[in-house]
């Protein structure tokens, strides 16, 4: 068990009448690449929000590398190494792509942000451009958010999350809102960069082709419960999943 990097123990959460999480118990091993599937409101996003500290569960515990992070704030959890990207990219509209990257770098430098050290110093810019090149969006460095395509915005959002050398990366629908032909290239790119850094990945996804292609295991959510936790083929073949989750039952 000690190899597990992220563990949730019988986590429950209700918003008034809606049960968002019911006895959710999961143990994610180090370096795993799992996907989370389920209809809207099944509890996927609540799970991500609880792990990243934005929502506090009613009961149960969340452990990261053995220590309890249930009641920590998003900032504390981020600093521990659990990072997330957003379904709707959360970027700074008035800043350029490069500046957005520099913000992330300034915060995640080894030493805390300084009062005099120039944010746009040559070394910082070089590192930022390096990451942008890695994500192949370096050519858009001086453009503002309004001038970018959905794909580039997604990649920037993920790039900013990655810049802090995360241990666990939660991707909230990394390919939603992106043109079909761009989906696979983006996922390849993201997986390539993350696997190079041996990062545990949990990503929320609706597109089953992406689920089967990139995830080692799949967590299927329905009505706040995990109804299946297995390899992609087994889960998709599972009769309960077909009726309640993918709606593909005959």
């Amino acid at each position: 068990m000690s190899a597990d990097v992220l563990v949730t123990e019988t986590v429950n959460k209700t918003f008034g009448a809606i049960t968002a999480a019911q006895d959710v118990t999961v143990a994610v091993p180090q370096g795993a690449v799992w996907s989370l599937i389920g209809a809207n409101g099944a509890g996927k996003t609540t799970f991500v929000n609880m792990v990243t500290g934005y929502v506090k569960p009613d009961s149960g515990r969340i452990l990261f590398e053995g220590s309890d992070i249930t009641m920590l704030s998003p900032r504390q959890i981020t600093r521990l190494g659990i990072r997330r990207s957003f379904q709707i990219p959360q970027l700074c509209a008035e800043l350029s792509v490069l500046e957005n990257m520099l913000v992330s770098l300034s915060i995640n430098d080894t030493e805390p942000p300084s009062f005099w050290q120039k944010a746009r110093s040559a070394s910082d810019v070089e590192r930022a451009m390096g990451i942008l090149e890695q994500f192949k969006i370096a050519d858009t460095y001086d453009r503002l958010m309004g001038e970018l395509s959905a794909g580039v915005r997604k990649l920037l959002d993920i790039a900013m999350a990655i810049s802090g050398a995360p241990r666990v990366m939660l991707l909230d629908e990394p390919t939603s809102g992106v043109a079909a032909e761009e989906k696979f290239p983006i996922m390849d790119l993201v997986m390539e960069v993350l696997s190079a850094a041996d990062v545990t990945i949990l990503f929320v996804e609706h597109d089953m082709d992406i689920v089967t292609r990139y995830s080692q295991r799949v967590l299927a959510f329905y009505d706040g419960q995990i109804v299946a936790n297995d390899a992609p083929d087994e889960v998709l073949a599972d009769e309960v999943v077909q009726r309640y989750v993918t709606g593909t039952a005959k």
């Binding site: 120039k118 746009r120 110093s121 040559a122 810019v125």
Partner: protein
């Protein structure tokens, strides 16, 4: 990639230069000091709560007198000479609104930029405490024509600053003397005064005078609403509940009007004998709304009290004011007149000494020190504060609505000589009162 440092430096220097150009541009606008005109900066309330009862009537009276002086030969000797010693008088009005800090800045502008020969002004006690140190710093001859707090020359001494109006102590002493001489029952008295130098000093002087003249009178509630509060419902309830024999107040301007309008209908004036240390200036506006039998001071022999003892000078100015503005002059124009006539006397005295040239600030200060001159409100003598603070006779009366002429009149007016109600030089007013008015010369 980073912006070329030289270009950013250019931007910074560029903005510095624009700021510099702006400043140089302003510098050119200042005025120059002309020889044949005597320029006065007149600072009084042209807006805000005190404008209509003090500021504007004073400026109207001042304008009128200056026009008459510039024509020459309109006023009786010794004021028949044209302007100030032949020089035309040019007056610039400045609004006193905005608080003491703003007034200090305006004072600097008048002295340094507009290059006025004298600044004559200031109704609010706050301004009268703030301006003198700056006047001495800039060595600018300044006349305080209206404010009443005794602190100016009792807690400080200034070389270039003079006050041509007596301070507030005399009004409260006269009120206490008036009540004693008219035999008004005063076992308990309460007070409502604005919460700043003027109100606090007036109440302190009145309490001290009463404890001296009517020792058995007991001081009750003392209310200190904020200046320009305008709403006195709760305070009036407190005074009615107190049922004091006498209610003393040094309220003035819009605040006094609001207080009378709100207290009248609630019968405060019937239940207690109300005494206003400086109440005469609201008589024209309130008319019959000012209840009868209210004891009124006018901070000197001003307004109706002066008309009853009018000299030729008083009548000329009174009729000219009534003709021009349709209402009779109250204390504010009277104090402006005594300030301007005092300035005229000082200028002409200094010109005699220096052979007819326009006197410098130092010459004006020397001439003004210890000066005496006649004014519509009686003889003004610069006695206190080593010749920097004036004393003047005082008068207290009681209101009576004259149904025949449909005008408010003052009856039972008692006059007090200047030395009777003002302390001699060198002793603080409160100490003089506590010591039982030693050396008071009352006829």
């Amino acid at each position: 990639m980073s912006k070329n440092p030289w270009r950013r430096f250019a931007g910074k220097a560029g903005s510095g230069l624009i700021a510099a150009a702006a400043m140089l541009g302003i510098a050119g606008i200042g005025a120059s000091k002309a020889e044949d005109t005597f320029k006065i900066g007149v600072v009084t309330f042209l807006s805000g709560g005190a404008a209509e009862s003090f500021g504007v009537p004073a400026w109207n009276g001042g304008k009128l007198l200056i026009d008459m002086l510039n024509k020459g030969g309109v006023l009786p000797a010794p004021y028949d000479k044209k302007g100030f010693g032949g020089m035309m008088i040019d007056a610039i009005p400045v609004d006193e609104a905005g608080g003491a800090t703003k007034q200090v800045q305006e004072f600097r502008n008048l002295v340094q930029r507009e290059k006025v020969d004298t600044v004559l002004g200031y109704v609010s006690s706050g301004d009268c405490l703030a301006i003198p140190p700056v006047a001495d710093e800039l060595k600018a001859f300044t006349i305080l024509y209206d404010c009443g707090t005794p602190r100016v020359f009792e807690e400080g001494s200034y070389e270039y600053v003079f006050r041509t109006a007596a301070h507030a102590a005399m009004d409260n002493i006269s009120l206490a003397k008036y009540m004693k001489s008219r035999g008004i029952k005063v076992e308990t008295f309460a007070g409502i005064n604005q919460d700043y130098a003027w109100g606090q000093d007036s109440w302190a002087d009145f309490v001290a005078s009463m404890s001296n003249l009517s020792p058995d009178a007991k001081a009750g509630t003392a209310l200190f609403p904020k200046i320009f509060a305008g709403q006195y419902g709760t305070e009036i309830s407190a005074l009615i509940r107190e049922r004091a024999d006498v209610v003393h107040s040094s309220l003035w301007g819009g605040d006094l009007q609001a207080f009378v309008l709100q207290a009248g209908p609630r019968g405060l004036f019937e239940r207690s004998q109300v005494a206003f240390a400086a109440g005469d200036h609201v008589i024209p506006q309130l008319g019959n709304k000012m209840p009868d039998g209210t004891i009124i001071g006018a901070r000197g022999m001003n307004g109706l009290a002066a008309k009853a003892h009018a000299t030729e000078l008083t009548n000329i100015l009174w009729e000219a004011y009534e003709k021009e503005y349709g209402t009779f002059p109250v204390q504010a124009p009277f104090r402006m007149w005594q300030g301007i006539l005092g300035l005229k006397s000082a200028v002409e005295k200094a010109m005699e000494a220096n052979g007819g040239k326009k006197p410098s600030d130092e010459e004006l200060a020397a001439a003004m020190k210890g000066l005496e001159w006649e004014a519509p409100s009686g003889k003004i003598q610069m006695v206190l504060g080593d010749g920097h603070q004036a004393i003047q006779p005082n008068a207290i009366g009681t209101t009576k609505w004259d149904t025949a002429t449909n005008k408010m009149t003052l009856i039972d007016i008692e006059y007090y000589a200047a030395e009777c109600v003002n302390p001699p030089n060198g002793i603080k007013a409160v100490d003089w009162i506590k010591a039982g008015f030693p050396g008071a010369k009352c006829d």
